[in-house]
Amino acid sequence: METGAPALVELKGVNKHFGDLHVLRDIDLTVRKGEVLVVIGPSGSGKSTLCRAINRLETIDAGEIRVDGKPLPAEGKELARLRAEVGMVFQSFNLFAHKTVLDNVTLGPRKVRGTAKAAAEQEALDLLDRVGVKNQARKMPAQLSGGQQQRVAIARALAMHPKVMLFDEPTSALDPEMVNEVLDAMVALAREGMTMIVVTHEMGFARKAADRVVFMADGQIVEEADPDTFFTAPRSDRAKDFLSKILVH
């Protein structure tokens, strides 16, 4: 990533409550084009909510979120268009259970972008090939392993040509032996210059691919640094405490 790259995702003074619970507190965050940002923090610190707010799966109470300079639209067609430009990969994969792998990947391009069937399928097969599951294209999601499903989910998001990809703990629902196949696909994506916001506790990924690590606690950004600095010399007590816990196991 060049340091002069333009801001792609900007959050200013973002606040969010769930009832009495203040889950996002005055979040200011800028992610530049081509940057890979890792978000880390204890359970309940608001990482998922932050991700979901960026493509408006959650609304916010105050503040502003911009993607590629444009503020998030409130509802309707405009919002759908924005969501198509922000790819999202979920912890639980969420592949469409009634559709084949191939149809999962082509659904968005065909129904949102209006791409012709043949072209959509050709590109889908290329994407599935890139993440190493092309030979599974005709199967149903339930027939695939978790790692394979998650790679399909990545291909499905990429098929929309998103400007930025959000990953919410993409490997934490996986059996340990499948974690790396998903992380490898993500590292490859990062190397290709995709802008990524990744909630993960996988330090290996952060060190290999991240430009910056943001540490969240209690709905706030407590610390941000490059991965080496963050993992070797965290400044805040919260981060030190948290790292000592995840480093143990």
Binding site: R83, M88, F90, S92, A97, G108, V112, A153, A157
Partner: protein, 230 residues
């Protein structure tokens, strides 16, 4: 004489066109079910829509219609909509009553179809809808392409029960002056041939059992076969 008795009874079945009566109820059920499915699906989409006013309207419809006796709806259609308001569904007198029967059955059972589909929607994990929104599908497309196809598969059993209820309730079309359907024909037969009362009753009862049992078997089979594997 046993033989005379039996042939006298079979002659009755022909004289009163019992098969034709059942055919009428099957037709009422078929068209009523189609209408109920369409209206019920629209209501279900309204109820799960992000627009509070639509969701409210859908809920209001279901709760009012579901809690109104079908006889009241049928009587209203014929006496209110037709006689008083001059609404007509066919230029043919008898078909007009038939279509009022279909409309009554369809709109009444639409509320049950709506609830069956909503129960089906509850079997679809929220992640499915979120993934659909995340790739940029607007609400209606997400409902049509992702949520409803899965919801229907989860709703086959309750939809089957609604279809069975609709078939049995098709006799209430009598209240919309469809006088050639089964319960009306049975009533006439018993009035004029009270010596055959048990045979007449059993004929109609068994006729319905024969119609209902396959629906139950079919929906159970479909529900297992089409279940979404997760």
């Amino acid at each position: 004489m046993d033989d005379d008795y039996l042939s006298g009874f079979t002659a009755l079945l022909v004289q009163y066109d019992v098969l034709g009566a059942f055919w009428t109820n099957i037709q009422l059920t078929f068209f009523g079910a189609l209408l109920a499915l369409v209206v019920g699906t629209v209501l279900a989409v309204m109820r799960i829509s992000p627009l509070p006013s639509l969701a409210w309207a859908g809920g209001a419809y279901v709760n009012i219609v579901r809690n109104t006796p079908l006889t009241v709806i049928m009587t209203f259609l014929v006496l209110g909509a037709w006689t008083q308001l001059g609404l007509s569904l066919s230029t043919n007198f008898t078909w007009n009553f038939f279509w009022f029967g279909v409309v009554g059955l369809g709109f009444y059972h639409a509320s049950f179809v709506c609830e069956a589909i909503r129960a089906g929607v509850n079997t679809v994990p929220v992640g499915q809808a979120e993934a659909a929104r995340a790739i940029g599908l607007p609400f209606l497309s997400a409902a049509r392409l992702v949520i409803l196809p899965q919801a229907f598969r989860g709703a086959i059993a309750p939809l089957g029960n609604t279809l069975i209820a609709l078939l049995k309730n098709s006799t209430v079309a009598a209240a919309a002056s469809v006088t050639w359907e089964t319960s009306s024909v049975m009533k006439t037969m018993i009035e004029f041939q009270p010596n055959y009362i048990w045979e007449i009753f059993l004929t109609f009862a068994i006729g319905y059992v024969i119609l209902v049992i396959p629906i139950g078997l079919l929906t159970t089979w479909m529900s297992n076969r089409l279940a979404v594997k997760r």
